[in-house]
């Protein structure tokens, strides 16, 4: 009998759906048999069954209700120093055999054209056992009718807050994953995780101009975890209140300013503008930090971390106990007190760099091969109180929430900000909308002179894209720094 690991703590527990537990165990046997037939340097096989629900309501009407179930197996083969991968939406022995042969053929073929062969995979602490995400009120205990009711209620609440709110929408999404994984070098695990999320959007019109207020939460856990911070009514109220504030907001002129970034923006810069530059596959191709291990790149107040766990606050959406190569995840310090300490690795790149795998190899669906991805990326909190931080700021802006944007491989970033409040002589003043923050993340984080202690995860709704999706999270306290703000 293998023990069951609950994310964050280890204990023995019966898998909730024992029929499924049996199925996963049989799946493990089947994957073992499959790998036994392949002649290779290394191979792994990953069965994934995903159940998802999406419910969207706008202006009182049901826009979408989708219940989806997908399952299949992805097989990865390393042969003659090269990879091949194949996936199939079946678990029949015949289809799995065909997929394995296809992956083996692809590995042989690509090995002939490779300039540098893969010499090996780094040793790692490989997972054995069952892993299940801790969930207050498992999603399967809440009926789809109750979920629909909650979405309707949230959307209606926003429209009821003010006649100025002309349109509102609310969407709920959940992913419930069950995985079975085996590798030829001994990893063998079953994983059960659930990740629900909710987003509320309120729209006001200012003349012909629309103004959007938004609140969103995404977690790893159950229904109770999703609403642990605030319930759906509070989510609706926050989105509506923001839309109302922005309705009377002005547009600002572009200039370089002192800014206080909220945890959502801290997470976004940590992830998009810094995190991607330390993913080992990108480091290899010439990231601005490729040669910066041991060197100071940002303010010594900044300690930046990527973790498979959910430090400081529970339920971060990118939490995973084991990655899709079977490596047990851990907390990886990327920058410690301003100095670059490490990168994010899969097993292939860890071998090349002579480092230990960090558990960052992730695949979104069974059709995806594992690649280097982040998990929960954050800046360690400081010891300031947010109030003190604002009081201490003579002139600047408090920036809250990100709408969209992008970052380049050179850490240049541009993010549209939901809301900017002016700070004058330590007091919050006028609200601005349509603000864009940009700069080079390393330069911006070099100007950090204060970080607050109010840590939050704040980007668990939605996904990161890198050829394939990944559920990630990010956050921190509030940080004060200098950046270029754009307006209209």
């Amino acid at each position: 009998m293998i023990g069951l690991t609950i994310f964050g703590s280890v204990q023995t527990k019966q898998i909730r759906d024992s029929r499924l537990g049996l199925y996963l165990m049989r799946m493990l046997d089947s994957l073992h048999r499959l790998l036994g037939r392949i002649s290779c340097d290394y191979a792994d096989a990953r069965y994934q069954r995903r159940e998802s629900i999406v419910i969207s309501v706008a202006k009182g009407e049901l826009e979408e209700v989708v219940s989806s179930e997908t399952s299949g197996v992805g097989v990865r083969v390393l042969k003659n120093g090269s990879w091949g991968f194949a996936s199939v939406n079946s678990t029949s022995d015949e289809d799995l055999k065909k997929a394995a042969e296809s992956a083996e053929r692809a590995a042989l073929l690509t090995s002939e054209s490779r300039r540098k062969r893969i010499e090996g995979l780094a040793e790692a602490r490989l997972a054995k056992g069952r892993f299940e995400s801790e969930a207050r009120q498992p999603l399967s205990d809440i009926t789809i009718e109750e979920k629909m009711k909650m979405v309707f209620e949230t959307e209606k609440r926003m429209r009821e807050r003010s006649a100025d709110i002309v349109s509102a929408s609310c969407s709920y999404a959940e992913l419930i994953d069950r995985k079975a994984f085996v590798s030829t070098d001994g990893a063998e695990f079953e994983l059960h995780s659930s990740k629900p999320s909710i987003r509320a959007v309120a729209v006001c019109m200012s003349g012909s101009e629309s103004v959007v207020g938004m609140d969103a939460i995404g977690v790893t856990g159950g229904w109770g975890d999703l609403f642990a911070k605030r319930d759906n009514i509070a989510i609706a109220d926050r989105a509506a209140a923001q839309a109302m504030r922005l309705l009377s907001a002005s547009h600002m002129k572009g200039s370089r300013e002192t800014v206080i970034l909220n945890p959502g923006l801290v997470g976004l810069i940590s992830h998009e503008a810094i995190g991607h530059t330390v993913e080992a596959d990108l480091v290899k191709s010439g990231s601005p930090v490729s040669d910066k291990i041991g060197k100071k790149v940002v303010s010594d107040l900044v300690t930046l971390v990527d973790s498979g766990h959910s430090e400081h606050r529970p339920g971060a959406a990118g939490t995973l106990p084991v990655d899709d190569e079977g490596v047990v995840t851990k907390k990886t310090t990327i920058i410690e007190k301003g100095i670059v300490k490490g990168f994010l690795f899969d097993r292939e790149n860890a071998f090349i760099f002579g480092r230990e795998p960090t558990g960052n190899a992730r695949a979104f669906e069974y059709t995806d091969e594992p690649i280097v991805r982040m998990r929960n990326t954050y800046i360690e909190p400081g010891d300031w109180k947010l109030d003190e931080l604002i009081e201490d700021t003579k002139r600047g802006y408090l920036l809250t929430g990100a709408l969209n944007g992008e970052a380049d491989s050179d850490a240049e970033f541009m993010f549209a900000v939901q809301e900017a409040r002016e700070i004058k002589d330590g007091e919050l003043g006028e609200t601005y909308r349509g603000v864009v923050i940009s700069g080079n993340a390393f330069e911006v984080l070099s100007t950090v002179d204060a970080i607050s202690d109010d840590f939050e995860w704040d980007m668990g709704f939605g996904h990161c894209g890198k050829g394939q999706l990944a559920k990630v999270d990010g956050g921190g306290g509030h940080i004060r720094c200098k950046a270029l703000l754009g307006g209209r």
């Binding site: 219940s67 991968f85 997929a99 270029l484």
Partner: protein
């Protein structure tokens, strides 16, 4: 094979009616894909996927239920069907829920190329390697972060309880390349290109890689720019994001009905400069989004969206058409994994009467914008962001690449102020777009 998935769809339609659905639609796609990937100037991986998806939409007392699964297994699909019917019992009634009836249509040619079906793994890898070689051939400082060449072969089928039964085979190739340049400690900004075609002979991936590499090398030493007001020349890639996407948002009848479209109530009114004609055409031979039928089985057609700068049509699916008491324009879109939503098919902005060189020569001071990265609010039209890989234009001559240059304004206002359209056009995925010139834009240097 086509008959197989179509007959499965028809079988599920009959079964769904027996489970209590008033109306039912079953949409299925079976496909096989292969792609060869490059990473960091080297071969990374070749992969293959075989799969099928079935999406089942039911209406019961005009209430929606939808469920999907990635299988053709009848037992699993029976569970999916029961799930869809069960959801419809608990969702609210909406009188606009209905499925389209069978309409006369003729198949659209040019959706399938047997040379793509015949491609093997080796040929696919060769094309990916040629993309790498083309980029590196331009300049050795180029680092191809990633490149991918994908071939897709599939068939789709749709049946509904109004007697509509359709199926079609399709093929496509897609390629993308992302690269930057390294010169000693200097790392340039990265840039990317993407394209796709229905036919293998249209593969333009090597030229695409070469052009990307040239653009990146020029950006190794970007110049700092002071702020000024001047003209923008938008490349087809930049105008896709900046101008065309907001137009498509605003002609989506769902957004019109929600009251978030700038074009609400503006049919017949001016929305762009008089020289602008925009067409959507899901029947264009070999168009990447061409197909004989949309996600609800309705035939596609050529539709003028903007003619002479005047708004001439909105895009409808069956639901929004019911709401406005009109007919679907055949713009239901999406995969079997989601309920249909509205989307354009192949979009073309008709060519202008000036050469690109002529447009550039007419600029006293301005910016040639290769790509835009930033916020475009399609509701208000407000936009603000960074012009990427962009070049300064002074006295009609195109100059150096500039860095961190922000542009801002309102896209609906910009559409009305377009004062130059090039004859030259580029086809990117399912867009065919010219270069645009717009005067008097705020350009903020970093």
């Amino acid at each position: 094979m086509q008959a197989d998935i179509l007959s499965l769809c028809s079988h599920l339609v009959r079964k769904g009616l027996s489970y209590g659905a008033d109306e039912i639609e079953v949409f299925s796609v079976s496909q096989r894909s292969m792609d060869a990937g490059i990473e960091n100037n080297d071969v990374k991986l070749e992969k293959a996927n075989t799969g099928s998806s079935v999406g089942i939409r039911v209406f019961r007392n005009r209430s929606l239920g939808f469920a999907c699964a990635n299988t053709l297994d009848r037992e699993r699909l029976d569970r999916t069907l029961r799930n869809a019917v069960s959801i419809s019992r608990n969702s609210p009634r909406d009188d606009n829920n209905s499925l389209p009836g069978a309409r006369q249509s003729s198949p659209v040619g040019g959706t399938y190329d047997d040379t793509i079906e015949a491609l093997d793994e080796g040929q696919l890898l060769e094309r990916a390697l040629r993309m790498l070689g083309a980029a590196k051939g331009v300049d050795d400082r180029i680092v191809v972060e990633s490149a991918r060449f994908e071939a897709l072969v599939g068939e789709k089928a749709l049946a509904n309880s109004s007697g509509l039964e359709r199926s079609e085979r399709f093929t496509a190739i897609y390629y993308d390349v992302t690269a930057h340049a390294v010169e000693g400690p200097l790392v340039s900004a990265a840039d990317y290109r993407v394209n796709g075609h229905r036919f293998l002979e249209e593969d333009d991936s090597e030229r695409t890689s070469r052009e990307l590499a040239r653009s990146i090398v020029r950006a190794l030493h970007p110049k700092k720019l002071e702020s000024f007001k001047g003209a923008l020349i938008l490349s087809p890639i930049a105008s896709m994001e900046l101008l065309v996407s907001p137009v498509l948002f605003s002609v989506d009848s769902n957004n019109v009905q929600k009251g978030i479209s700038k074009f609400k109530g503006m049919i017949g009114q001016r929305v762009a400069s008089p020289s602008i004609d925009i067409y959507d055409d899901g029947t264009r031979p070999r168009g990447l989004s061409s197909s004989s039928f949309d996600r609800e089985g309705v035939p596609h057609r050529r539709l003028a969206i903007v003619k002479g700068g005047m708004l001439s049509a909105f895009l409808y699916d069956q639901y929004t058409a019911n709401k406005d008491s009109t007919e679907s324009t055949g713009h239901a879109s999406g995969s079997p994994r989601s309920v249909p939503s509205i989307d354009a098919t192949n979009i073309s902005v008709e060519e202008g009467d000036r050469s690109l060189q002529d447009l550039i020569s007419s600029v006293t001071r301005g910016l040639f914008v290769q790509r835009f990265s930033g916020r475009v609010d399609p509701v208000s039209g407000d936009m603000s962001g960074v012009a990427k890989m962009s070049r300064e234009i002074v006295s009609g001559t195109i100059g150096d690449v500039v860095r961190e240059t922000m542009i801002s304004g309102n896209v609906y206002d910009m559409l009305l102020r377009i004062d130059g359209i090039s004859r030259d056009r580029e086809r990117i995925l399912d867009f065919e777009l010219p270069y645009f010139k717009i005067e008097d834009i705020s350009i903020t240097g970093g």
